[in-house]
Symmetry: C2
Subunit: 203 residues, 2 copies
DNA sequence: CTTCAATGGAACGCTATCGTTCCGTCCATA
DNA sequence: TATGGACGGAACGATAGCGTTCCATTGAAG
């Protein structure tokens, strides 16, 4: 593995087997997430990630200089955008849809292990903070739209404290599923949506 | 270090320097928490813990057979009981006191790093689940008393869903401080208490 | 067909860490 | 004073993992 090729006169463009394999990059990303879910970020061994992907470590180091860059690229590549988040007709229905989607995400076997690990890791070291910020931004955009609609419907006051709302809406679900490690059924999800919507309307 | 002395005829009771030093045990517990806060459970190195405590690994292995037992003993020894949780006169005031105390705990530099790490670790392996159950039980007892008082005051219906309340009360604070990694001032804490109390009263 | 470019699996040299072993040392007891 | 019991720091042998190096192999281009 000769990584630094500088000031070399290129007479032929690399091609064929001399080009990074994207299928191997994909396999490395998948392996990283699986290893991450199993061990937590701090204990990720790149040797094990490579083995899990059926590769050697050189394949990793050719692509990323460090575990952190590797993890950053993986998160950015896969950040679950909430995508289209339609109007459900009322604040409560919007919140229910938001919580339903969030529940689905938090049920994913990799996400439910990697996300809290990211939170814990961020407490120790700010290295991964940009990753969480990246994830949070997409969720915030969806949340802003939801609040905008509720204001337009006159369900919420225009000057509602949006930070407060962004704390109140997802937190009981996160607490239930991650902190308490408990499942939540449809009825409880609906009750959360109703109580939260009611609470926000009376702010 | 000869740990296994079995079927040996004891002719004299150990004493003096032949007895486990409790000051060293204390130092080991402190060192463990510091290392835990720094690296997360998965990456704790007992060698580093011992060094941090100014000791050798034999001192650890004489006391505990594994990292897990060591960690268990440490948590059980130090689980922050919420202690006396007095009656503040109303549900809202009780909740505010509860949140104030919780905020103080979550501000502690070791707790704010170890607690989310425990949650993340539990998602990966059930090994540490009993520790979290232990911590949760003491908090639950305080919470039950708070709900009992509110019912006695006729602020809450006797059949309120206690699980729902236990999710709703601490979660926005936890979300704010741990998941969002944001501080929270007195005014926002009071608002949380007011909104949560109101929400529970209207359940 | 030959050549090129560089990929990527395997191996390397080094360090950190593990659980265990060793034995000098300690301090109360006889 | 001598003795007993075992503690606990240092060292041990083995392994895991790191970042780097090596070079056989690959596949497109000429």
């Amino acid at each position: 593995m000769e990584r630094k090729s500088i000031d070399h006169k290129i007479s032929r463009k690399p091609s064929g087997a001399a080009v990074i394999r994207t299928d191997l990059t994909d396999a490395l990303f998948r392996a990283l997430f699986e290893e991450w879910a199993q061990t937590g970020y701090a204990a990720i061994s790149l040797e094990r990630v490579a083995a899990r992907a059926g590769a050697g470590k050189a394949a990793i180091y050719r692509r990323w200089p460090s575990k952190r860059e590797f993890a950053s690229a993986a998160i950015e590549r896969s950040a679950p955008g909430l995508g289209g988040f339609g109007d459900h007709g009322s604040l409560e229905a919007d919140i229910l849809a938001y919580l339903t989607m969030t529940r689905r995400v938090l049920r994913h076997p990799l996400v439910r292990r990697i996300l809290p690990d990211l939170h814990a890791e961020r407490m120790r070291s700010g290295d991964l903070a940009p990753l969480l910020d990246h994830v949070a931004t997409t969720r915030r955009t969806a949340g802003q739209a939801m609040l905008d609609r509720a204001i337009a419907r006159h369900e919420l006051r225009p000057d509602i404290d949006r930070e407060f709302a962004f704390d109140l809406i997802p937190s009981p679900l996160y607490w239930r599923m991650i902190v308490r490690c408990r499942p939540i059924g449809r009825a409880d999800l609906e009750r959360q949506a109703a109580v939260i919507a009611n609470a926000l309307r009376s702010c």
